[in-house]
């Protein structure tokens, strides 16, 4: 059969649409330059030595004991954090979906799921140290323990679990809600106890989802830089080892090879998660629940579960609150009264806080609309259009999800410090604010694209087709139909990108130059020096900014969002 004609016609139609054509070309160039190329250069760098292709560099790094330990450390932490987060997430999700609970408890749950989104990544490490460290409020003053060592393995595990379990909770909640209650009712009807229903019906249905949650957390844990940095002590993970290899040992080639190893691990996990588990999850849980679930009211079940979850939630919230409060004490661990604003003052008077906030704020503010727009355009192309190169665009933007920030950072150093392929071309980019903005964009693009795709999938394809049919070109279809319909999702993408950018650290810490002061980098510096009060003051202001922008977004969506226009009239 001759399939040539339709392909060439499709190509011709694409050529007749210059806006679409340009967009695709620009997108492909962007993704290639700033995602694929930095990763490729790492591989080239670590395989290409004096006399051509060689495994010498890998051999060298694998001979370092520190590196081998870092690998086992990373995997050990990732594994335990993955399991703990999934279990706690499951508990929260189950209680929320199955158990009748008071409004206040529901509120607690909501706060818990929201906190990690708006806070910088290392906040929990700070509060962990302040509550349970040597001079910890709880260890020293409540329990009277004077030599508690929180730094190291357990510190990282606890902090990461508390940081990541809300993600599992949200994922599993969505899955549990989609399980048709009649399946469980049928089992109960045949005489199964509640526990039996859970183990024989709910759990098997949920199994791929649990695996999914585990791997997502595993990847997050492996890629996490900030927490191991602050609370790891001498317990190094891959991300911190790579960082030290660059900043301490000045061994960029070694770091590149290590980054390749880290990337391989996350990519493998990601491949399993994406192509095996996600598909299975979708297959077992199709369709929406047909009818509301009968909630468990049995007090012997509800009370223990609710109490357990509430305590956990309160604990997490307390950890977060500890940061702003810590910034108010004169000297943490020694002098608690009178409360003072001196740290906040010092942020601005002594430590150039204003510049830090301005730089972080401005760079993130520039990056977020670019990210939001790019991710919407990518989602639109992926979901609604048909063209060559679509597979590439989709694959690369999803791939970026699996790239740890540290790896990307090393890739940019190797790829841009001396220009493209060390030729000097584009070397002017390195060290500028522009490259920081690009890193912000690349780091938030996958999340934005993912939510954009799911928002667009809900819009009937024929709505856009009818605009197209009526004579609108691609740009007009996108601006007059697509964008207005996903306005809410666009807005929240905008804010998410902003929050992610202003709280980012892993890639940026490798690329920032003295001409830019970034808040997260500052916080990291002070925390490392042990200046926790000042770190807390910085972090508090940062949380206020991110929280403020989320609140602002909710207000805007409430008053101007599409869902309002459409819902209002119903």
């Amino acid at each position: 059969m001759a399939r040539g004609q339709s392909a060439s016609l499709d190509r011709k139609k694409l050529m007749a649409d210059p806006i679409m054509m340009t967009t695709i070309v620009v997108l492909i160039a962007f993704l290639t330059l700033f995602i694929l190329y930095p990763l490729a250069i790492l591989l080239v760098d670590s395989l290409y030595g004096e006399g051509g292709v060689t495994l010498d560099i890998f051999q060298r790094i694998f001979q370092m004991r520190t590196f081998r330990t870092a690998i086992t450390n990373t995997l050990k932490v990732g594994f335990v954090v993955g399991i703990l987060s999934t279990l706690i997430g499951l508990l929260f999700a189950y209680v929320e979906v199955y158990v009748k609970m008071r409004k206040a408890v529901g509120g607690l749950f909501k706060v818990v799921s929201m906190l990690p989104v708006v806070s910088p990544p290392f906040v929990l490490s700070l509060s962990m140290i302040m509550l349970f460290g040597k001079a910890g409020l709880i260890t020293r003053f409540v329990l009277g323990i004077y030599d508690n060592n929180i730094y190291g393995y357990w510190g990282i595990v606890i902090v990461q679990t508390l940081t990541f379990f809300p993600v599992c909770y949200m994922m599993l909640k969505g899955l549990l809600k989609n399980i048709d209650p009649s399946m469980e009712e049928a089992s109960r009807d045949m005489g199964a106890s509640r526990w039996k229903v859970f183990t024989t019906v709910t759990l098997p249905l949920l199994l791929p989802g649990l695996g999914n949650a585990f791997l997502v957390t595993f990847i997050e844990s492996i890629a996490d830089f900030a927490n191991p940095m602050i609370i790891g002590g001498s317990y190094d993970t891959l991300a911190t080892t790579i960082y030290l290899q660059i900043t301490g040992a000045m061994d960029k080639q070694g770091a590149a090879a290590m980054a390749v190893v880290l990337l391989c691990i996350t990519l493998a996990m990601f491949a399993v998660q994406k192509y095996y588990l996600e598909r299975k999850t979708a297959a077992t849980l199709t369709g929406k629940a047909s009818r509301a679930r009968m909630l468990i009211e049995d007090k012997s079940v509800t009370i223990p579960l609710t109490v357990l979850c509430s305590l956990a939630a309160i604990f997490v919230i307390m950890m977060y609150i500890c940061v702003p409060i810590g910034a108010l004490f004169p000297t943490w661990g020694y002098k608690f009264t009178p409360l003072t604003f001196k740290w906040f003052e010092q942020v601005f008077t002594k430590y150039r806080g204003l510049q830090a906030f301005r730089d972080s704020f401005v760079l993130s503010l520039i990056a977020s609309p670019i990210t939001a727009l790019l991710s919407m355009i990518i989602s639109y192309l992926v979901v609604k259009r048909k063209f060559r190169g679509k597979g590439f665009i989709e694959a690369v933007s999803i791939l970026a999800m699996a790239v740890p920030g540290t790896v990307l950072g090393v890739g940019y150093i190797r790829g841009y410090a001396n220009g493209l392929f060390h030729t000097g071309v584009l070397s002017g980019l390195y060290g500028t604010g522009l490259i920081l903005i690009i890193v912000f964009v690349v780091r938030s693009l996958p999340t934005g694209t993912r939510s954009g795709i799911s928002a667009l999938r809900q819009i009937d394809k024929s709505i856009e087709e009818s605009a197209y049919d009526m004579g609108a070109d691609s740009l007009k279809v996108f601006t007059s139909v697509t964008l207005p319909l996903i306005k809410d999702s666009f807005l929240s993408g905008l804010v998410t990108a902003f929050v992610r950018s202003i709280t980012a650290i892993s890639a940026i810490i490798l690329l920032v130059t003295p001409s830019y002061l970034l808040i997260t980098v500052q916080i990291n510096e002070f925390a490392e020096k042990g200046a926790y009060s000042i770190a807390c003051a910085f972090a508090t202001i940062l949380i206020l900014i991110t929280y403020g922008s989320v609140v602002l977004m909710n207000i805007v969506i409430k008053h101007f969002g599409t869902s309002r226009i459409i819902k209002e009239v119903e």
Binding site: M1, S6, K13, D17, D460, D469, G471, V569
Partner: protein, 362 residues
């Protein structure tokens, strides 16, 4: 009211069009549409009819430009349009799901195409008002689309397509989301408007009664190829195959062999009786012959052409429904106004007869 008649209805010609898809399961290529060759006169209403999956939507979307044909060329008003994008084609489509813009009100939905064409504001106002009057939606301009009933949404979709005065109007099962009664009402409406405006329309449906009711011509498709083209009467009374006969309404097939052949006429020997039928076909004596008989064309009585035995007799209100056995063949009969006639009971012996012009030789 301004003259809403189409400025220039266009003809459509599909020149040996094929579309190949890859079967997602087996990964093999197959023809979703195969060598479809037809031409549609300007100002006529043509229906693409056929069972699910026969390639109707694919054909329509190739005309609109959403899919590209793998073979052949499409002409609109005499111009080849294969390489034009949908927005450059003089077509307007009414979608099954209506595809109204949920963020616009009725007026803005209808005005959308005119604004794209940079029509002056006053003229837009005029044309939208006129077209809304035509589809009987005057006064609803400010409503959001989800404040409308299904039938009203359908009218908005129709108005939105009509207002740009397309060379050809395309419909993809526009009524399938409506209830049965509204469906009948809307199809009459669509036909009325199409005739009033003199526009060319191509209409996809799998509902044969809908196709009969509104079309000038029906194109019946089967597995990607055209099974038969013709006016509704032609297709109904002169089907060219068992598939066509069966798809268009209830149908009986009587098999036998040709007993005699003459000019415009032949006789088929069925159960030992020579049954005369009118036909233009040239047939030879001794060949196998099969005649198609519509249930309402058969008369049942105490005397007649072919003897039969009654196996089912059922009062349906406006008619009596019979199943009778002729030789080995089951024959369905609908006998109108049974109150005036003798009603046969199960087990009775009877005769069936029919006019030779009502019987069609396949």
């Amino acid at each position: 009211m301004a003259d809403l008649r189409a400025k220039q209805p266009k003809g459509v010609k599909l020149d040996h069009i094929s579309k190949i898809y890859k079967d997602p399961k087996t990964g093999k290529d197959f023809y979703a549409v195969h060598d479809v060759d037809l031409s549609i006169e300007p100002g006529t209403f043509v229906t693409l009819l056929g069972p699910s999956g026969c390639g109707k939507t694919t054909t329509l979307r190739m005309i609109a430009g959403f899919e590209s044909p793998d073979e052949g060329e499409i002409y609109l008003g005499g111009e080849p349009i294969n390489s034009l994008t949908p927005n450059k084609r003089d077509t307007a489509m009414v979608f099954q799901s209506y595809a109204l813009f949920p963020h616009y009100n009725v007026f803005d939905n209808v005005a959308y195409g005119l604004r794209l064409r940079k029509v002056p504001k006053a003229e837009i106002q005029q044309r939208v008002t006129d077209i809304l009057a035509l589809v009987e939606l005057s006064g609803m301009e400010q409503r959001m689309t989800n404040q409308l009933s299904g039938g009203q949404q359908q009218r908005v979709a129709l108005a939105r397509a009509l207002v740009v005065e397309p060379g050809v109007l395309l419909f993809d099962e526009p009524l399938s989301n409506l209830d049965a009664k509204l469906r009948v009402q809307m199809r009459t409406e669509i036909r009325r408007i199409q005739q009033a405006l003199g526009i060319t329309a191509i209409y996809v449906t799998h509902d044969q009664s809908e196709a009969m009711a509104i079309s000038d011509n029906i194109i019946l498709m089967k597995k990607g190829v055209i099974a038969q083209m013709g006016s509704p009467t032609e297709i109904y009374y002169r089907p060219n195959s068992e598939f066509v006969a069966d798809f268009i309404g209830e149908c009986n097939f009587l098999k036998g062999s040709i007993a005699s052949a003459g000019a415009g006429q032949a006789a088929v020997r069925i159960a030992g009786v020579d049954v005369p039928v009118a036909t233009e076909k040239s047939v030879r004596v001794g060949e196998a012959g099969e005649i198609v008989l519509r249930p309402e064309a058969i008369v049942i009585g105490d005397t007649g052409l072919l003897p039969c035995r009654v196996e089912l007799s059922c009062f349906m209100g406006s008619y009596q429904n019979y199943h009778v056995r002729v030789g080995d063949t089951l024959v369905k009969i609908t006998d109108n106004c049974p109150i005036n006639k003798k009603v046969f009971k199960v087990g009775d012996s009877a005769y069936i007869s029919f006019d030779k012009n009502c019987a069609h030789l396949l």
